[in-house]
Symmetry: C2
Subunit: 317 residues, 2 copies
């Protein structure tokens, strides 16, 4: 009997989402678990199995499943390992596809989470007919998937496409998990956006702001956006600055691979035009004339968690 | 009869070099003309033909030539045009391959000069068996050629690989020709190295230096290197800083495409280990652990002017 389904798993810094996907790219069942309940990867896989095995049984058991595709931070396509992922609790080198294949008795493949999202975008999203694009996920971390000539760039060792860790402010803000200073992720991740708000509030004590009514520990990028939507000056400034950092970074990426489209995903993009207008302004200002007014900055139209699951499942063909 | 030869043409800001190249990558005849004698491209091509046609006749005429490969600033592989090259006299969009093919009655291909150098390195240089590498030329300008999966990256519009114009010090040193601030080229080109020396001399007026004996207008990157070799502290500091800028930039490039090797070309690299050690130190310091102690930084072993001709000829296969 022909195997009808594949499994897609998206391991994010906070949440792991997974689903059963049809040939046609439809997710027929999906669920999620926290990514960081367990320090021991074996316990995480057991927690996953407790939910995923019943889902697999619902579609007729492993005999109907082609395999399991996984996207994860620092996921290495070549070796099937997660290596030193700064946003995950499991340290060192984790032989993920080996552990998953043993647990579920199914073949499995791994790539980094942002590459999986880029594959989802290419197969089912706004870059179906585009062969040169970069996806950037703005969530707990800042991930990226680079497509050149229609293929995901994985590099000589399987680790290419870590644009969130490129340095855009040398000597700048410390990234606690990597120890690097001034990386894109230190500014444009959800927590980076919050830190920008805290810094701007501290730097301008004379300025009133709705953000002052919120405990610093409870700030989220969404709260800041909502305040900006109400006209709060400091909240607007937060997204103007986040857009500047992103625009300058994207200009550098454009000079590398000359993509036609940049696709943005993730919670931070809920700020919409407030963020996009600043990105476009600062990107254009840092481009050579031969690149100006050519590059489209788009928001992914895929449901965010769907895209990640679909992209991961696309690893299994 | 099998066509034995190809022609390589390297159009530089000052000089155009060209030669007849064998299958084995040997330049059997070569010559040069000024690039900027004529405002009209047709006159330039006639000047080229006056020297190149007799060379072609020497090897048996066009029937023995597979084609003509050309490297030029702002050369577009997709369209065969040179577009708005700031260092050339021909303005606007020049349909170079069309003009060359008509004149010589041979097929021709064009790419930017740094991409041509990367192809030369892949075919005849130190990256023969390497499929993921980046070449960086450190000369009058800073050019780059990016190879992924064995292919030159040209991007959706043919202009990819302009790493010299990536911003590494936002708001930093002004680049007179582009108007951008803080680009790699503003620091790591030959004139960027000289400007660093002038700035360091001004910032440390109390410090003696051999460089103070030289008129600022006569400074060259080679003079600075020679002073450093004699132990001059400021001259050494110039290359330490140039290496820092390059190392930080290269770390960003590694995060993009995860290359196995970075190959450096050009006059500024004559500083050798003085520059390389600083590049390596600052590159490693800005890499995630998954990339550390993996990337080789090498100096091209090809003769510089040969490399440009060989690389251009490599466009014809």
């Amino acid at each position: 009997m022909k195997k009808e389904y594949s499994v897609g798993i998206d391991i994010g810094g906070t949440t792991t989402k997974f689903g059963i996907v049809t040939h046609a790219g439809e997710i027929i069942i999906q669920d999620r678990i926290p990514s960081n309940d367990h320090e021991d990867i074996a316990n995480f896989i057991q927690q996953l199995a407790d939910k995923l095995i019943p889902m697999i049984e619902k579609v007729g058991g492993p005999k109907n499943i082609k395999g399991i595709g996984i996207g994860a931070p620092n996921g290495n396509f070549n070796s099937g390992t997660i290596e030193y992922a700064p946003n995950l609790r499991w340290k060192g080198i984790i032989p993920l596809t080996k552990l998953i294949s043993e647990k579920f008795n199914l073949p499995s493949k791994l790539t980094n989470d942002a590459n999986a999202a880029a594959m989802g975008e290419k197969l089912y999203g706004c870059t179906k007919d585009i062969n040169h694009f970069i996806t950037i996920t703005l969530g707990t971390g800042v991930g990226s998937g680079i497509v050149i000539d229609g293929n995901i760039v994985v590099g000589h060792d399987g680790f290419a496409g870590e644009l969130g860790h490129t340095i855009i402010r040398p000597g700048g803000r410390l990234h606690n998990k990597t120890g690097l200073r001034g990386s894109l992720e230190a500014y444009a991740s959800a927590s980076g956006v919050c830190q920008t708000a805290i810094e701007l509030l501290d730097q301008q004590p004379e300025k009133t702001s709705l953000l002052r009514e919120i405990d610093k520990n409870n700030l989220t990028s969404e709260i800041i956006f909502n305040c900006a939507a109400k006209g709060d000056e400091i909240a607007k400034e937060v997204y103007e600055f986040t857009g500047q950092i992103l625009g300058e970074s994207i200009a550098n990426f454009v000079l590398f691979s000359s993509p036609e489209v940049i696709v943005l995903f993730g919670g931070v993009t809920k700020a919409g035009d407030l963020l996009l207008n600043s990105i476009r302004k600062h990107m254009e200002a840092n481009l050579l004339p031969i690149f100006q007014n050519k590059i489209k900055i788009m928001l992914s139209q895929l449901n965010e968690s769907d895209a990640a699951i679909l992209g991961a499942s696309a690893l299994i063909s």
